[in-house]
Symmetry: C2
Subunit: 162 residues, 2 copies
């Protein structure tokens, strides 16, 4: 694995100055962020939060459909009370369709793939849809404040939607 030695060395450097070993399990800021797995997003840096502050759920696109289980655990067992959903410009989810990717999987892996990949063609709509999905979920606390935003990978700026 080409990265393994680098990650071990990176972790050793991190451990050498680590000072946050006393933080409790529940997030200090009682907030949960749902965002994309994209390599250009470092969520904690982008929001200015510290170790111990917020739950961060990430997946391809930052889609709520894959986050609901985590939100319920976060709210019911670990006391978070607000949710932020942040998608981003230049997202890979804007570049393909589920049938296309199912075809790629069939060609390369020989598998008849029935996965829905939850891609999107309208970035702002994808954020609003995911806020709506969480607001409508029977396992998300009713009345939870949920705010959507878009992270610009060129500038680092998050534009929050009304």
């Amino acid at each position: 694995m080409p990265n393994f030695d680098d990650f071990v060395a990176g972790n050793e450097e991190f451990v050498a100055t680590f000072k946050d070993g006393d933080k409790p399990m529940p997030p200090a800021r009682k907030a949960l962020l749902v965002t994309c797995m994209d390599a250009r997003i470092h969520p904690e840096k982008a929001l200015g939060v510290d170790i111990g502050d917020i739950h961060v759920v990430r997946n391809a696109g930052g889609r709520a459909v894959d986050a609901v289980r985590s939100v319920t655990i976060s709210q019911q067992l670990l006391g978070t009370t607000e949710i932020f959903v942040v998608h981003h410009t230049d997202c890979g989810m804007l570049t393909f369709s589920t049938p296309q990717l199912q075809g790629i999987v069939k060609d390369r892996l020989g598998h008849d793939d029935a996965t829905h990949y939850h891609e999107f063609s309208d970035l702002e709509k994808s954020v609003r849809d995911d806020v709506a999905l969480l607001k409508a979920s029977p396992v998300v606390r009713p009345g939870t404040p949920i705010r959507g935003g878009i992270y610009d990978v060129r500038t680092g700026k998050i534009s929050w939607l009304d």
Copy 2:
């Protein structure tokens, strides 16, 4: 939302020194990390990676079951070739059972909840199970190197499993 103004201010500070606007969509290190949403894990800092380097998928527990869709997109469309699965000490997933949480949801939200919450009672086994799940998945590239590890929230150290 109590955190909103702080997050806006934190992001303004981040933007003021942002220098990574030219990174491409595919992760430079061709790696994907699956880890927990826990607030005490800042994955990029813990591995010493930069903006643009790796995909990061996070959910309650760092469970592979919620990560497969993202792994397929990462491998087939964005060229990642290795996977790291990192769970952590003092994880919330060690503290409850699915029937208990379903009962809490029923009591507090009035919903007959059939969600499987994918908790675990053996931390090392949970990592090995998730490595095995990914290795066995028909939508994960056969032969992908996958390494498991455990992050210690008291020290910041990642212990990699053999």
